[in-house]
Every structure is written in C-alpha cells, then in structure tokens.
Amino acid sequence: MPRILEARSLTPVTKYFRIDAPLIAAVAKPGQFVMLRVREGGERIPITIADYDRAAGTLTIVVQEVGATTQRVCALEAGDEILDVAGPLGGHIEIPLGGHVCGVGGGFGSAALLCLMREFSARGDRTTAILGARSKDLLILADELRPVCSDVEICTDDGSAGMKGFVTQRLAQLIAGDGPGRPDYVIAIGPMAMMRAVAETTREPKVKTLVSMDPLMVDGTGMCGGCRVTVGGKAQFACVDGPCFDAHQVDFEVAMRRNKAYVREEKRAVERLACLGVCRT
C-alpha cells in the first residue's frame, strides 16, 4: 500500500499529500488522475495528479474536503498508508511546443498546475499561472508555482491578495495584451462554474482552451460510462477520452447537473460520518 511521506494542511479544507508511489511517479504526465480508496468498503474517488518527482518516486495530490470520503482522506497523516491508489489514469495534456501557455487554477484546482507549469516551462514554453480564490487564506501553492513558471497572477474575490476580482477578469486582460500578454493555450482546472466562465471568456477571442472535467466516476477505466460528458454533441468518457477536453465543445449545463445526481446520498454519508466521530482534522 502506498505510504504518505508528507501531509500538511494548505487551508482549513485542503490538504497536501506526498505519497511514495514510484511506479506511478515514473510515468505520470500533466492532466492525468488517480483513483483512491481509503478503507475496505470505501468508495473509489478520482483525484488529479498535482505533481510527481520521478527521481524520488513520489506523487503529490491535493485533496479538498467536500464529503465523507474526502474527509476520511484528509484525516490521514504522514506515515499512514492509502489502501488503494490506481493510476495514472486518463489521457495527458498534449499541446504544440513553443507557445504561451496559461494555466488557470480555481481553488484547489491550482494544485494541478504544479506539474503542468513545470513540464511546459521545462520544454521552453512561456508559462503563466492565474490563481483564483475567494480570499488570501484560501489561496494555495502560489509560492510553489513561482519557481516553475514565467508569471504567477493572483486574483481574490475580496482583494485580500493580488487583483480584486475573478480569474476570468485577469484572463480577459491577458487576452487583450495586458501583463504577460495574450496566451496561445489556456488550461483551466477548478470548480465547474469557473471552468465554464473561462470557456466563455476565451470563446470569442478564439483562444484554444482545455478544461479538466471532474464528473462522477466509479472505475476510472472506461467500463461503466458514469463519467460520460457531452463534447461537441458526442458522448465521451472523461476517464479514458479525457479528462481534459476542448472547453468550447463541452456542455457544462449537462455536466453540472449530472454531478448533482447523488447530493442526497452524499449528505447522508457526511451526517453518518459525523455520528461515527470521524471528524475533520
């Protein structure tokens, strides 16, 4: 079982884990994910790979507490083992060399920019990360991202750090030529509403944009279709055909509705966990 080497809280609801997983670390690429299961009888949940260190054989993930299983994950500490970690899963992000790549991270989605920005910077692309959060306290990994990309732009809803406003406002300024300038490729990772807003921002100026979809998943290997998303009017399985898709082709309305299919059950699971006394750390 993969052992947790390092665990630290980034915000009251997000936690950073470095895991000993040399096989996965050796082949993981930006855009891929892992499926986790933390206990016998536990569910399988998809988590985006935030970073990897091939030499050290470690994998980095950032988990946000949103329900019962993520609460159980976030209760883990260094030295603990994770029952099942399967990956890397999904396809990786492929974009042509030599452009200006802008990664947009909303909330804990910023974590996935770590390997993305590092890989694209390393091959010579110009890289800009736009990080967004409601306030300064919820902003994550800005210091870790600075050394791996050309520019880091910060936006907070309340103006407590960086620009006051949404990531899409800063992105629009970039497209207009401001600051680090117009990006050739935008990759947005974060809450569905934020990714949809990014897609709308880049649609008219025709900037190629990818979004990392996070539908409900069961197996993550293409055998159930639970994660199907509509892309360009066609059904695609996010776990094998994605998880990254052309943002201008994705039907976000359907995707957002499908993600709410189990809200009642999710609430029940959280209430039950509270009764069991497995509480937030």
Partner: protein
C-alpha cells in the same frame, strides 16, 4: 458389474433443486439456487447413461470428462470427482453456475431426447461447492520452467490462462485494474447468481498454485504491453481485458440523471456493495419504477438487482421477442417469477425530462419482426405511428458492450475494425509473444468460452516457449483423466502430488 443402464431404468425425473421462494428472495441478495443436497446429487448421477462416446464432452467448450466425474460421484467418491473435473477445469463452482448448459453439455445429452437431460451443471457445481466446503485443493509440486508470464486482466480468461501456465511451471503475474481480482465474475454477476465468496475461494486456489495478483494496475497507462515484453522481462503475455465498454443508447435524453449503464449499476452494487450504503460508501441510484433496456443476461441481472434494491416495479424493454432474447432460459424464468414485466417488440426512441434534469419516462415505439439479419435473427423494424409514452424514474441500459479502447490505443497490436484484438487460430496476436483471448477477441460471449480461450492461449504460449504440453485435455475419454492432475500425467516425474485437505 452393475446392469447396463437404459433410458427406462434410470430415474425419469430430474432431481429437484431447492430454490429460494420468489417472494422471499426479491428482498435479499443470497443465492437463488441452493444447489443439490448429497442425495439429490447421487440420484441425479444415476440418470447418466455413461455413454461410451459421450456427446456431452463434445458439447463442453473445455471437454470436461463428464461421465468420468459422474462415475466417481455415483461411487460416492466426491474427492475423485473433483480430481477428474480439475483435470480440465479449475473453476467448477463458477462454471457449474454460470455456463449456459442448455446450449452446451446438457443440450446434447442423449437422455434429453426423451427425458430432461442430466443436470450436468448442477452436478459440477455440487462437486465444486463440496471442494470449497472441504477446502480441497490440488496443488502439484511443479518443476519451475524459468519462464515469466504476464497476464492482463483477471477475469475468467485470465484466470484460466494463469492456472494452466502456473501448472506448466511458469512464474505467473496477473495484472488487474480494479482493486479486486475476478473481472466480470466480481463486478458483473450478482451474488444471487454467483456469490463473491465462491470467486474468492477459486482465486485463493490460484494463489496456492503460485499465481501472483497485482491489483490497481491499469496496463496501457502504468506500463504498456511492449514494456512487459521488452523491459519487464516477461517471456510471454496474455491479454484478457474483456469487452467492458458499454454501448450507449444514443437517443435524446440519455444524459438525464437516472439513466445509467448496467455496468455502472452492477459495479456499484456487486463490487462496491452500494446496496449496503451508507455502511459502504458508494451510493446507488434508487428508482421506484425502473425500465431496463435489453434482454441479455446482463439485463436480467440488472433488473433483479433493482428489485432487490427496493424498486416497486421493474420492466424489461426489448426490441425483439422472447424467442430472440439472448438471456439464458433459466434467467428469464427467474426474472418472471420475481415479477419482472416484459415488454417485447418495444424500443425506446427518446428519454423524457421531468423539467429538473431527471427521468420522467421514455417514448417508445412498437416493433415488428422483419427479414433475418446477418446474425440470423429476424430484424426488428419500427411500426409506423405506434409511439407511446412509458412512465419510469430510472433507466438502465444493457444493450451490449464494446472493446475497451485503452489497450488498443497504447499497444501496437493489430485490431479489427470493431476495435477487438486480431489473433490467428492459435490466439497469437500480431506481436511476437503476445496472445489474447476472451471477449477482447470475440466480443461479448460467455464465461466458459472466455475460460476456454484462456486455456487455448496457454497451449499456444507453451508451444511458443517450447514447454512440452501433454495436451491431455483433448484425451478425455472413459479413462481420460485417470491418473492425471491438472492435465499433467502423474507418470511424468516432474511433480509430486500434495493434498491439502
């Protein structure tokens, strides 16, 4: 010497098999068919005519010496019967339950010409269950051959191939993408038909043979088939990844909440034990009035699972008639007993929205049977202006599966136009040392056909590696399995027999 049995002297009636009462069993996931008691098995064994040239052996895809094990049963030598069966088939408790015997061994049994055929499947299951209860295993000491074999997929094809290669002295590793081994036997077939405990017992037997199982490993992403051969030191690889990718409905509304594939429903329920939610963490959608589209075994399983999850009414929607239904007769019978309502010659054309993104019902059209198509079945054609609305709050589609694309995308194996792996008659793929079998070659088929393919591939792999193959599977006859263990002749001095009981 007993008097020769004739059709007139044998018991005329099949031994009754105890089944859970339909009204009881729709409320639990326990096995429907309780299996033979000892006296039932002995009585049924008496019905076999012990034909000198047995048609049943021909009818069995892996040619089990059926009269051979029945003879042992009649002599009350249950252990002997187990040894005969495991000479050709390592997983009797599974095959005895899930094989479509009516179209295989039992379909050609001469007794069946005048009476009901001998219940070969139930007898095989009796022997397999007895072995599990008594903890019998046949573990030969095998001289290591030094070869390393990688197997991709732990379903029935992979399990059968692993068993044969381990018996040939190879160091076998099975890679499985899920967190538990077993493939469709685990995630697909529900406990009321094939208890997961039975599969675990059979997998444990493979572990005792020295087979290693590596779960959470998706070949194609973590490493490729090429790497297994080039870098990881496997002398041969068998690909048995199955056809697990569901065919979607492709009609308006199929993205509404409450529409899901049978694979998703069954995986949630069988593998993740969502039926125990919230004790187990995986939720399962709940429908009061469920429509299952399709009429294969998967559809039957899905319908019966929905009933047990508490649905008030479950409907089967199928575009052909009962006669063309691909499900086993026994499964349809069980489903009918449990109160499933069948709507033959009916096809959905649109799924209807309740205004909040959930299923409200579906629009169906009546069908009629036209000319036979390439599969030989009469093609269903829509009846003009026969649309009607059907009320339901959950829709499960079980209209077939396709090859999973991952292996095809990540290995340079030659595929056919439908995405399945192309092999020659010996199940060798376009890549030297790589063999494939089961649903990933043939498309969705049966468990026993997959196991047969796994064993056939094992024979080819042995030939490829230059391992001598005694080939006794093919020699099963009146004395075919006598003195043989796992298909190896005991007179060969490459193993000693150890009994674990």
């Amino acid at each position: 010497m007993a008097k020769k049995k004739t059709i007139r002297t044998i018991p005329q009636q099949r031994s009754p098999v105890r089944e859970q009462d339909p009204r009881e069993r729709v409320r639990n996931f326990a096995e429907v068919n309780c299996g033979f008691r000892v006296e039932d098995a002995l009585n049924e064994a008496e019905r076999c005519l012990l034909c000198p040239d047995p048609a049943c052996v021909e009818g069995c895809p892996v040619s089990i010496d059926i009269p051979g094990f029945i003879r042992k049963l009649s002599a009350k030598d249950f252990r002997g019967a187990y040894d005969v069966i495991t000479g050709t088939n390592l997983l009797p408790a599974i095959c005895g339950r899930v094989c479509p015997q009516e179209s295989q061994c039992e379909g050609v049994c001469p007794v069946g010409e005048t009476l009901e055929p001998v219940a070969i499947g139930r007898l095989e299951r009796f022997v397999g269950d007895t072995a599990i209860a008594e903890r019998w295993t046949n573990i030969p000491y095998i001289e290591p051959s030094g070869f390393r074999i990688g197997i991709v997929g732990s379903g029935p094809a992979g399990m059968a191939c692993a068993a044969d290669m381990a018996k040939a002295g190879c160091d076998v590793t099975v890679y499985e993408a899920f967190h538990q081994a077993g493939g469709v036997l685990k995630y697909g077939i529900p406990d009321f038909r094939l208890p997961n405990a039975v599969i675990d017992a059979e997998i444990e037997n493979l572990r005792k043979l020295g087979v290693k199982f590596e779960c959470n490993t998706l070949v194609g992403r973590l490493f490729t088939i090429e790497q297994m051969i080039d870098e990881m030191g496997y002398d041969a690889v068998f690909v048995g990844t199955g056809a697990g990718c569901p065919t979607l409905l492709g009609i308006p509304g199929d993205f509404l909440n409450g529409v899901l594939s049978a694979n998703e429903l069954l995986t949630r329920c069988n593998l993740m034990l969502a039926r125990e939610f919230p004790t187990y963490d995986t939720p399962v959608p709940f429908g009061r009035r469920v429509a299952v589209i399709g009429s294969g075994n998967t559809a039957m399983d899905a319908m019966r699972v929905c009933l047990r999850l508490g649905a008030e009414k479950v409907h089967c929607i199928y575009r052909r008639t009962k006669a063309e239904s691909p499900a086993r007769a026994e499964e349809i019978h069980h489903a009918e007993e449990e109160g499933i309502e069948f709507h033959w010659l009916t096809n959905p054309v649109e799924i209807l929205d309740d205004g909040k993104g959930n299923v409200r019902g579906m629009r169906c059209i009546r069908m009629a049977l036209g000319e036979p198509d390439e599969s030989g079945r009469r093609r269903p054609v829509p009846v003009a202006a026969s649309e009607f609305d059907f009320e339901c709050d959950m829709i499960v589609f079980a209209i077939g599966t396709n090859a999973n694309p991952i292996i095809g995308q990540t290995a340079k194996l030659k595929l056919n136009k439908r995405g399945y792996i192309e092999t020659d008659a010996n199940l060798a793929t376009s890549m030297a040392g790589v063999f494939a079998g089961g649903d990933i070659v043939t498309g969705a088929a049966t468990v026993i056909e997959a196991m047969g393919a796994g064993r056939k591939a094992a024979r080819s792999m042995k030939a490829y590696l230059g391992i001598r193959d005694t080939g006794v599977d093919d020699l099963a006859g009146p004395n075919g399995s006598a003195g043989k263990l796992f298909g190896i002749d005991v007179r060969e001095r490459n193993f000693a027999r150890i009994r674990v009981a």
